[in-house]
Amino acid sequence: MKKLLKSKWFIALIVLLVLAAFAILSLLPGSPIKNLLKPVQLVTTPAQSLVKSAGDTITDFWSAITDGIAIREENKALKEQIADLRYQLTQSEEAALRYEELKDALHIKDTFSNYVIYGASILSRESDEWFSTIRLNAGAADGIALSEGNSYPVLDVEMNLVGRVIETSDTESRVLPLLHEGFAVAGKVNEVNGVTFMVVGDAELKRQGLCLAKDIDPDVHLEPGMEIVTSGDGGLFPEGIPIGVIETVDYSNPLEVTATIRPYSQIGKLEDVFIMIPYVEETEETDVTVPGV
């Protein structure tokens, strides 16, 4: 027995069994097992930020050298563009004033006016095919608190869908990207009364940077190039967030019409994202006192 306890293979086996048990326990809702990794997070996050910023500096420096001529030409073109835009701006200011007047008059609602939008930077990306969540530098301390069964949409700077927040800690959030196999959102063609279907991540399409549209009504005609947006069904995502464009449609099986969608957001190139949190109006609670009691 003593010999067995000293055997490195026996120790390794016990460690592997304990780790497997921890991994399964971490899937339970509200599992405290994840807290065991908090000290590691405290130590490694600053170190990783340092390596990332050093890498960014080297990349920027290299770009500055290689892109020198292109930047000069771009600068010249941009100066001309600025002059053009200044002229357009003065014209637009007047149009904006008119729009505000009309908006008030017609009670037009901004598309996402019921949402508070938080900015965040990407700390780390997916490390391989399976270790594929994205980490953001905003958490519960920044107002992004997530209750069980809830989730928030994550958008890029052009307001295209990137994924959804699935876990938050005090200082960080984890995002399930749009291409992940576990991702699902109700989508529709971006037109009045557009047909709705499910947009999901798919392991085979992921490597091509595509996602899958399924549960499509076979009587509906879809074609490549159509824009897909969120339909708002399900309640997690508001209606109208751009997802991408249809690349191919497969009508070969009338009972299972599918389409591939090329998302607008290029997750690999993103640095900053936005988290949309539904705005909840705080109602003042008033104590009602009954006289004579």
Partner: protein, 211 residues
């Protein structure tokens, strides 16, 4: 007295060099994954480093480096898995499990028979990557069946062409500079020594037991 100093220096060197490599590689892996990507797959430099640490420096090196790298991986980019209740959840300790096993596998892959020679370390990386991929697909398939969800994993041929082969190629390429770093700028000094397993006994496996 001299022997004591030698051992202490070896320990300090080992801890410092491993710490630098682990922080650097795990950070690079998640900060610039596109730099190491091809055909939709990313070279797993952390995984390769762990396998090579085990291969060159012994069982406990592989196990401990794998454990630490795995914890960092679980912090930086843990996998999200569909739970039995149908909710997608972020997991913990799958990275530790994977890399701990990879370190042990690297340390036991014909290391004594092949005298931990450099060319055979490439074979160790290829074998470990293959095992990782096969185990990964089996676990996903088994879990999907258990959770009662439609599994969206690759068909076997597609998996071979678009997942296994690119990953094997990328990991093999990543192994070349890492072998150089581990052998010549590594945590264990092999300079002027001939019997490699003796060095590992003195500076490798035995050292951890004294820490």
């Amino acid at each position: 007295m001299r022997i004591v100093n030698e051992t202490t220096n070896a320990r300090i060197r080992k801890i410092v060099v491993y710490a630098v490599y682990i922080i650097l590689l795990t950070s690079l892996q998640v900060s610039f994954p596109d730099t190491f990507s091809l055909f939709g797959q990313t070279a797993d430099i952390t995984f390769v480093f762990v396998v090579l640490s085990g291969y060159f420096n012994g069982f406990w090196d592989g196990a401990i480096v794998g454990f630490v790298c795995g914890m960092i991986r679980d912090v930086f980019s843990p996998p999200a898995v569909l739970g039995l209740d149908g909710e997608v959840r972020v997991t913990a300790f799958i990275g530790v499990f994977t890399l701990f096993a990879a370190g042990i596998l690297g340390a036991s892959f014909f290391t004594k028979r092949m005298h931990r020679n450099i060319p055979f370390s490439i074979v160790a990386v290829i074998f470990a990557t293959f095992c990782y991929k096969v185990a990964g697909y089996l676990v996903i398939f088994g879990w999907s069946s258990m959770a009662g969800t439609t599994s969206t994993i690759y068909e076997p041929f597609t998996a071979l062409v678009y997942s296994f082969l690119p990953q094997l190629l990328l990991n093999t390429l990543a192994a070349i500079p890492l072998i150089f770093f581990l052998r010549f700028l590594g945590p264990v000094s092999f300079r002027g020594r001939s019997k490699k397993d003796e060095i590992i006994e003195k500076q490798g496996e035995g050292t951890w037991l004294g820490i």
